[in-house]
């Protein structure tokens, strides 16, 4: 354990370990206070940022925050580190790395930034984000390119995709179908049509997979489906021969956190192999989908490192190492779902959303965000508008959208289909190219390429409404 010190305004601040520096340098959030690791004053926070800026990136390869022997995520991170990819920045400190990233972003050198991914550890990404402002996070993420595909291509410049989330409290087939059609009519669903099942049973999962597969087949929609059941349930569906496009799982940044989710790295590998074998892709072969979120490790009491608790943002980045090992099509942080004890208000949610997006992309993930909130958090539609537009500017791969912002199954608010239209319109962003061509074929786009508002008599509306009646 290396003690680090700095003097700021005549006061000497001392940090007992790298873990302590990372935690104290983190912009304020309630979860770190709850875990007892947050800075005790603004001055201490900035002092920690000073110290962190002087830490060589290479230090993170030799000073793990979670022990190598007791944690398989740490082993995954260090054992798969790519020194060649790391070479361009291997001599830099965290502060110099921030400057390097901003310089490459200004030069629009996407190749230089994007080529680092496998050479960076989650802790390096977390560290540099802690000394970056919101606009820095946007500017660099915008010039980081991660392109993935299965039946649509995601992450291309000038595009913003969306996951259509047609949840229903009882998984009712007609209710789910109505929400899917409403989303399609709004030009949503190019990232995935992804349902959170109300019950995690293989039979229900298979029924929903078949339902969405039938809609996708009937209208020949270039997108993919996902039922966000536990990976063991998806394995059962695979065994039963169900049309599984994507293997989904929530993942965390520690082995203990993943144990809390009931998953191991081997289990994820097995499920991915099963989905790959089906060969359901047309433009790519990315067959996994992961969700993450700051605070998930703490909520499972799985946030402990070599020197006490680790801050929630560093642990979040470690979850990205798990995700990237399985070449995902989609990864998203669920940024406002977990509650005010982890992210208290709009300021904290916006900051966390931008951090997660930036860090995920920098580490090579096709990063999306569930821009969302619960009713006991101090967040509203103004905050989600701000975050959504910032994410659009940052080149976010996809966002999540539900009918009228109201998820009637999970009881929280995400974006509405119209929020996606607004972000695309304001920022001149378009859907995934294959999906855009489908929208045009369905006569859902006007001459300027915007999703038009249909009357029920319009041919496309009649065609889609027919599915709701049958």
């Amino acid at each position: 354990m290396t003690v680090r010190r700095t003097t700021l305004g005549g006061h000497t601040h001392e940090f007992r370990s790298l873990t302590d520096v990372l935690a104290k340098a983190t912009p304020a959030r309630s979860g770190d206070v709850l875990a007892g690791v947050a800075a005790e004053s603004q001055a201490q926070r900035v002092a920690a940022q000073h110290v962190l800026a002087d830490v060589p990136l290479a230090t993170f390869l030799t000073e793990p925050v979670v022990g190598y022997d007791e944690d398989d995520v740490t082993r995954l991170i260090l054992d798969t580190h790519d020194p060649a990819a790391f070479a361009p920045v291997s001599a830099l400190t965290v502060g110099e790395f921030r400057d390097w990233l901003l310089a490459r972003a200004a030069e629009r050198d996407e190749a230089a930034i994007s080529g680092l991914a496998r050479g960076l550890t989650p802790e390096m990404a977390a560290a540099v984000s802690k000394v970056m402002r919101n606009a820095d996070l946007v500017a660099v993420a915008r010039r980081t390119r991660v392109v993935t595909g299965l039946r649509s291509t995601l992450g291309l410049p000038g595009r913003l995709a969306s996951r259509l989330q047609p949840n229903h409290p009882t998984d009712d087939a007609v209710g789910v179908t109505a929400a899917i059609l409403d989303g399609l009519l709004h030009g949503s669903g190019d990232a995935v049509i992804g349902i959170n099942p109300a019950t995690d049973s293989p039979a229900q999962t298979i029924a929903l997979l078949e339902l969405v597969d039938a809609v996708i087949s009937r209208y020949e929609i270039p997108t993919q489906s996902c039922v966000l059941a536990h990976v063991t349930t998806t394995l059962r569906a695979l065994e039963a021969g169900a049309p599984v496009d994507l293997v989904f799982q929530s993942v965390a940044g520690t082995q203990a956190g993943n144990r809390g989710f009931g998953v191991t790295l081997d289990l994820l590998a097995e499920a991915r192999a099963g989905a790959l074998e089906l060969g359901r892709g047309t433009v790519g072969a990315n067959v996994t989908y992961f969700e993450t979120g700051q605070g998930s490790a703490l909520s499972a009491d799985a946030h402990h490192g070599v020197d006490g608790p680790v801050d929630q943002q560093t642990l979040e980045c470690r979850a990205y190492a798990v995700a990237r090992h399985f070449d995902p099509l989609l990864v998203n942080t669920v940024v406002g779902f977990i509650g005010p004890e982890y992210l208290y208000d709009g300021k904290q949610v916006i900051r966390a959303g931008l951090e997660d997006h930036f860090c995920g992309k920098l580490l090579g993930l096709p990063m999306g965000v569930d821009v969302c909130y619960t009713n006991h958090t101090d967040v509203d539609g103004d905050d989600t508008d701000t975050l959504t537009l910032l994410l659009g500017a940052a080149g976010c791969s996809f966002v999540i959208a539900v009918p009228g912002s109201d998820d009637v199954m999970l009881h929280y608010q995400s974006l509405s289909f119209t929020d996606v239209l607004t972000a695309r319109s304001v920022l001149d962003l378009r859907p995934a190219p294959e999906f855009e061509a489908w929208l045009a074929m369905m006569d859902l786009l006007d001459d300027a390429g915007h999703v038009r508002e249909l009357t029920p008599e319009a041919p496309a509306a009649r065609a889609l409404l027919a599915a709701a009646r049958s």
Partner: protein, 257 residues
């Protein structure tokens, strides 16, 4: 409130072809558009629902109101009041750990009871205002012969605050009636959590939960009390609660613990 229910906003007059979508789900489908946004009426409907949920979270628990409601419901038990270690709502929301512990100066009269009932504000004091008295009255009517401790009204309380309360009162079982996290269309849901042998450190897996007591839209008092009385009998017989006591939902809704 004059805001029309979002399901029916377009109804009346000519049959609406979009109704095929709207009739299929409670989700807010086919809302129409104003450019790339929502029409004003839809936007304001949504804000009204969110405002009701937010206000339900931030309303203070009104002890007098609950006492009056209990009296009117015919509940004759004494009513005591306790506070958790969370001094205010802002702290309560950010520090669930403090909401699970009693304030240091708390004094409760010890005794020997079969059952203690804790009325906890949780994330919706409004749920306690509107549904606690009716639920308690219906429950007590189903428990002849049970010795029941004085009722405890708990401010800034999480479910687990029932553990130290039940222990201090000397109760064999504690039931916490707690305001659940408000949804957009359900700001007044009451949850009922049963814990056998209450003491600090009980795990969530050692509790049983009945959710969404909220007549007329959710569970009614009689129905909830029937289920809870059955669970109480079974728990007393078994000498335990939680996952060992099957059939009822035992999972905690997010944010309730």
């Amino acid at each position: 409130m004059t805001t029309p229910d979002h399901q029916n906003g377009h109804c009346g007059g000519e049959p609406d072809p979009w109704a095929v979508l709207r009739d299929a789900t409670r989700a807010r489908v086919a809302l129409g558009r104003a450019g790339d946004g929502l029409p004003t009426s839809r936007e304001l409907e949504f804000r009204a629902a969110h405002a009701a949920a937010r206000d339900a979270v931030h309303t203070a628990l009104d002890a007098d109101r609950v006492r009056t409601a209990l009296t009117e419901a015919g509940v004759g038990l004494d009513v005591l009041e306790v506070h958790s270690q969370a001094p205010d709502r802002t702290t309560y929301l950010q520090r669930p750990d403090l909401g699970r512990r009693l304030a240091p100066d708390t004094e409760l009269p010890g005794g020997t009871y079969d059952l203690a009932l804790v009325l906890a504000d949780g994330l919706s004091p409004r749920a306690v205002h509107e549904h606690a008295a009716g639920t308690v009255a219906a429950l007590l009517a189903r428990l002849p012969g049970w010795s029941v401790a004085p009722l405890v009204l708990a401010h800034q309380a999480r479910v687990a605050l029932g553990d130290p309360v039940g222990e201090a009162l000397g109760a064999g079982i504690v039931v916490v009636l707690v305001g659940e996290r408000p949804g957009l269309s359900s700001a007044d849901s009451l949850g009922l959590y049963l814990t056998h042998g209450p003491r600090p450190g009980r795990a969530d897996s050692e509790r049983n939960c009945i959710s969404n007591v909220r007549p007329p839209h959710g569970l009614g008092y009689a129905q909830a009390a029937d289920t809870l009385a059955g669970l109480l009998q079974a728990s007393r017989q078994l000498g335990a609660s939680g996952v060992v006591l099957k059939d009822e939902g035992t999972t905690l809704p997010p944010g309730a613990g």
